[in-house]
Symmetry: D2
Amino acid sequence: MDPISRLAEYFRDFPGIGPRQAKRFVYYLLTRNAGTLDEISRLILEIKKQVHICSRCFRFFNAQNAAVGNVCPICADKDRDQSILMVVSKDADFEAIEKAHVHHGLYFILGGTVPILEKNPEQRIRSRELMNRLSDDVSIKELVLSLSATPDGEHTADVIRSLAKDIVAERSIRVTVLGRGLSTGSELEYADSDTIKSAFNNRI
Amino acid sequence: MDPISRLAEYFRDFPGIGPRQAKRFVYYLLTRNAGTLDEISRLILEIKKQVHICSRCFRFFNAQNAAVGNVCPICADKDRDQSILMVVSKDADFEAIEKAHVHHGLYFILGGTVPILEKNPEQRIRSRELMNRLSDDVSIKELVLSLSATPDGEHTADVIRSLAKDIVAERSIRVTVLGRGLSTGSELEYADSDTIKSAFNNRI
Amino acid sequence: MDPISRLAEYFRDFPGIGPRQAKRFVYYLLTRNAGTLDEISRLILEIKKQVHICSRCFRFFNAQNAAVGNVCPICADKDRDQSILMVVSKDADFEAIEKAHVHHGLYFILGGTVPILEKNPEQRIRSRELMNRLSDDVSIKELVLSLSATPDGEHTADVIRSLAKDIVAERSIRVTVLGRGLSTGSELEYADSDTIKSAFNNRI
Amino acid sequence: MDPISRLAEYFRDFPGIGPRQAKRFVYYLLTRNAGTLDEISRLILEIKKQVHICSRCFRFFNAQNAAVGNVCPICADKDRDQSILMVVSKDADFEAIEKAHVHHGLYFILGGTVPILEKNPEQRIRSRELMNRLSDDVSIKELVLSLSATPDGEHTADVIRSLAKDIVAERSIRVTVLGRGLSTGSELEYADSDTIKSAFNNRI
């Protein structure tokens, strides 16, 4: 296979990319200057070295900022509220939360969600790692399950509640979920009954 | 103009209908039997007689169910919680709320929203009627502003708060708005910071 | 059922209309003045009387313009080219063709298309009426099958070709279909091979 | 800036990619194994070396297949019809045409289109190179302008016709454009008048 098609095949595996856009990516690269291609090539090669997974929260972070034990700056930050641990599904969710500047505690990246009907839910997410963290980290007083308001997100929250039932009871950890309601841009006319119920009950 | 085009012009004014679909409506009607056309024609003629506007909440309702003084069944229902008055923009919003079976108080239909930059906000909504209701109805303890989480909806809530400031202060009426948060189907990754803030602060 | 819901049920059956928009139509009508409702109601009632189906081409037309034998103005127009008969599926297609001012012959409205796998193709369209027309009308020299470039459209053209095979052979009628090619707005990159083939072979 | 953001910035410049998807690309790469990243990195670095621009038609092609003078296999193929030169805007258009197996002549890649109102049309496309080709290549008898049926595509065809006017007259080269008509999937009801006109005039 020719190099255009070979590179296009890799781009096809990128999230949300079809065969046509994959090929357009290659043609786009062919019109870039050598310096840009060198830099992209180098960054792709280096990224795994430069980006580490935090040994505490499992998020990706810049290795240059690693604290002792390969811990990310947020996990190493003693000024963050050590009593609130927020569970999110993936790094993009973590970023959305940080951008809101509302959660000042710590994080735990599940690394996925548990689809309904999944037979081995524990294999889809970092469930063992989360249980260890809840057992070991005596400062945790609240576990915030920050999952999407989707069937998979809700099911994942249920799975975690069930797995963590004994530990949180024993350690008196409060388990919470994000509040439901009208999200920005929602029109009342098209809101479903569950959303309206939550919005009414959470009225302020 | 021929009758097909004349009727199509009326359909064009229907909400969300363009010239092509308007014409398709006419062709559709031409394929119906005479009985169906008679019935549709009769219902359109009768609807204003059979449907009244409630003199208290200003919603449309079946005239056969009118209570004394042209009042709708909900306004006439003494079992509804007389202390909570919910303000909605239009009948479709009222229906979405009723379907959720969560609000057991009374309603007030504004008849519109106030766009930002509107110079005469009071002319866009039933503001005078709402102020009269707040003055006259001594049983009201809470005013729930149930408006869409859109710029117009938020501005309309602000306008009402401002207009009602003195009355609600004098009469000790609590003014609330629907809670914000993740609405059903929202993915955390795509949620805006305002929604995340509310969802975090309303976590349960 | 209340009159709002009853009328909304009729609107739900209009092409392309869901339950929510149907209800919004009723609320829209409730805000119109009595004169408008009277006029819409009257037009719906009158439309079947005022609009006839042409006995030659089967299209809907304003009855006031009917020629002898309930024939539409186009079929009655001796200046139209009597040698070209264009078959279209429905009135909206006829209108699109007339708007292009390119066909100066006569029309025949099939009243539908024949879906692939249909067991009784002749019942879906006015096939018998078309065959009669081809037999009776000795002035026809060309039959233009103006059908959509969709699987159903192509299948309908095949069905007509097959049904009319003997008549057109006997009467030396030429059977044509609309040319394929790039339609306005088509980007070459996204064009399928069939379209490109036709566009190349029809290059001018 | 951290390596995740730095690589994401490069992905943002890819055609059709926004900031969120750019970041998701980086996270996707972080989950790949080292071998895959090595291979993608290497291909990006090598692509400019392995892919050449044909000195005759200006399309990208696998350098391993280069003929004498850095000419692509199609330009070097004596079995292709040397009398028909097809002008396309970009490589993706060339690919769409080749896939249709209908054009057996040669190609010329313009490298762009000329937007309407462009003051220096000759700088947007390889106009000088095309004129040279028309002057030098005595075997050309037909120039097929294969451009999209869009305003820019049509304008580009006009620009080329105008620039090449004298050469094609002198050399008796026929200039053609792709035929218009219903493209696959087009519904007659929604076809514009220009498309219908062409489809009717090209009926077969």
